[in-house]
């Protein structure tokens, strides 16, 4: 911190472009050709300006220092989750769950159970990295170890990315602008390449193609979900993806899962769709606030998959015919 204060603004902005975001967020303009050193820049900010933007010099300096160290942490962050382990606690009747489950990168686990059975609590326990301190008394280990407590509140260590049926895009941007914005917020290197890749992959999942100039708010349900899945696969820092029911319409769910698995995500999927359930390696059965059973998809169960897929393809084909204005027969 003390060394950066003596450096000229023009140099700092080139080396650490994200610092101009900080000042911009405060409504303070920074000139990239400013030759003053940072300390002088701070001290020459007028009191009126500081009061107008709702801060004081000492608060601004303090926030700057914190932003700088937070950013350095983001850039150095090498949070890698290879596996998570959930150690059972108790259900609503205080009966022990008696299970210990380890889920690895690329695994797909289904969660089944009626509304209110405790699916959200299970997810919340994982997200909170519970250590016996939630109502279920469950414990969660990351890579076999107890996670650091400060990870709970760090945006860099968020474990779970959620995708559900009722999610929408609300920002007034085109697909390209939107994905670029997300990529930039992650400070990744090859923004343009990533953005193109995401749009391309999303189009492979969607029934109808969209372009990078389509406004996100104009995407159809299937297109939105495809873009959300592709974006989450490539840009979300969270290692676990929770999918809450992917609707059949307008999206190739098998490809969607394959994409997430290929990008080494841990996929948890709340679903009652038999095809999706059989694509998973395991099913957690939730009852009365607890995990009542863990079923591994058996060969016998998997044997009915071809039949189900044939049915599904038949429906898909009919749907596509309708979409293309053909007659059903």
């Amino acid at each position: 911190m003390s060394t950066i204060l003596k450096e000229p603004i023009s140099k700092i902005i080139i080396e650490k472009p994200y610092l101009s975001d900080f000042f911009e967020s405060y409504g303070i303009t920074v000139d990239k050709d400013d030759e003053r050193d940072l300390d002088t820049f701070f001290n020459e900010l007028s009191e009126d300006l500081l009061e107008d933007v709702g801060t004081t010099l000492s608060d601004l300096k303090k926030a700057f220092k914190e932003y700088l160290s937070a950013m350095e942490e983001v850039l150095e962050n090498d949070f890698q989750v290879e596996e998570i382990t959930i150690i059972g606690g108790f259900n609503k009747s205080n009966e022990p769950e008696n299970f210990e489950l380890t889920i690895k990168k690329g695994d797909v686990v289904c969660i089944v159970g009626p509304t209110g059975s405790g699916k959200s609590r299970l997810l919340a326990d994982i997200e909170w990295m519970a250590q016996g301190d939630t109502p279920t008394k469950r414990k969660v280990l990351i890579n076999g170890e107890k996670p650091k407590k400060e990870w709970r509140f760090s945006t860099e260590h968020k474990l779970v990315a959620q995708l559900s049926q009722n999610m929408n895009f609300v920002m007034d941007l085109t697909v390209e602008e939107f994905v670029t914005l997300h990529a930039e917020s992650r400070f990744i290197q090859d923004v343009e390449e990533k953005v193109n890749r995401i749009i391309e992959e999303a189009n492979k999942l969607a029934g109808e193609e969209f372009t990078k100039d389509t406004p996100v708010t104009a995407l159809s349900g299937g297109q939105s979900r495809s873009l959300m899945i592709a974006d989450t696969a490539f840009l979300s820092k969270s290692p676990i993806i929770l999918i809450d029911e992917i609707e059949n319409a307008g999206i190739d769910r098998k490809k969607a899962l394959e994409l997430l698995v290929k990008e080494e995500k841990i996929v948890l999927m709340a679903t009652h769709d038999p095809i999706l359930a059989l694509m998973g390696d395991k099913r957690l059965i939730i009852k009365n606030g607890g995990v009542a059973k863990i079923i591994e998809s058996s060969e016998e169960e998997k044997a009915i998959l071809p039949e189900l897929k044939a049915l599904d393809n038949k429906l898909l084909e009919l749907r596509n015919r309708l979409r293309n204005g053909e007659v059903l027969k």
Binding site: D21, F22, E24, S25, Y26, G27, E51, V53, G54, T55, T56, D59, K62, A63, E66, Y67, A70, S120, L123, A124, W128, D133, T134, P135, R152, F153, T155, A161, Q162, L163, S164, N166, M167, N168, F169, V170, M171, F178, V179, L181, H182, S185, R186, S224, M228, D231, T232, L235, S236, K237, S238
Partner: protein, 227 residues
């Protein structure tokens, strides 16, 4: 008694978050109450009452809501003490986004929602920038990408805050928020405490009831735009 100030733009979900948080506090065996500050009208006190939560309502009416807040908050804390509350939560909306009810050494929470637009974190002043905890709501209706972008924008303006997502409808995250505020310091009075940030200044003829438009009617703290 543990005391915290919760503020946030209108309709950001403050009341829903507080209701779910108090449910979680009750589960942990605590007695919690609310002081609700608003301008013209609020029915939120009835919502709290229907859940048997002790509540005090303050309507600022013709006064600046934050000046009204600071002139009354000490008595509200006394009310909480008299009612043997273990937690008192003050709820107020920062209407011009420049106000902030946050007090030094008192846990300060700002609630904003994902639907308010990606530039909103920039537009909110000390209410957000000086908060210890920022709660982001309505995450269940936007995409993962928007949640991440929004949270990073919040982090830009308040890098030291704990950023949490709470769902005011399902209560997801409220238990965790309740665990976090359990560690707050006990206080007995606000006497001698200071606001974290001065309130927007205004003392001009319009404050005193002037309604006529025109240079000759403007006196006091008046500032002109550059045209």
């Amino acid at each position: 008694m543990k005391f915290l100030t919760i503020s946030g733009p209108p309709s950001s979900g403050k009341t829903s978050v507080i209701l779910k948080t108090i449910d979680a506090l009750k589960e942990k065996g605590y007695r919690a109450g609310v002081v609700k500050f608003d301008c013209l009208l609020t029915d939120d006190d009835k919502l709290y009452m229907s859940k048997n939560i002790p509540v005090k309502k303050g309507l600022s009416g013709a006064l600046c809501p934050d000046h009204f807040f600071v002139s009354n908050i000490e008595a509200c804390v006394e009310w909480g003490m008299e009612n043997n509350l273990e937690f008192l939560i003050s709820e107020s909306a920062g209407l011009c986004n420049r106000c902030s009810p946050h007090i030094k050494d008192i846990l300060a929470v700002c609630v904003i929602d994902n639907l308010s637009g990606v530039n909103t974190p920039k537009k909110i002043g000390p209410m957000l920038k000086s908060a210890d905890i920022v709660i982001i709501t309505k995450g269940d209706i936007v995409s993962q990408a928007e949640r991440e972008v929004f949270a990073s924008r919040v982090k830009n303006v308040n890098p030291s805050a704990t950023i949490m997502h709470v769902n005011g409808i399902t209560g997801q995250g409220a238990y965790e928020f309740a665990s976090l505020i359990e560690d707050t310091n006990e206080i007995e009075t606000l006497k001698g405490k200071k606001l974290r940030f001065s309130m927007p200044s205004a003392l001009c003829s319009y404050c005193l009831g002037e309604t006529r438009i025109g240079e000759s009617y403007q006196m006091g703290n008046v500032r002109k735009m550059e045209m």
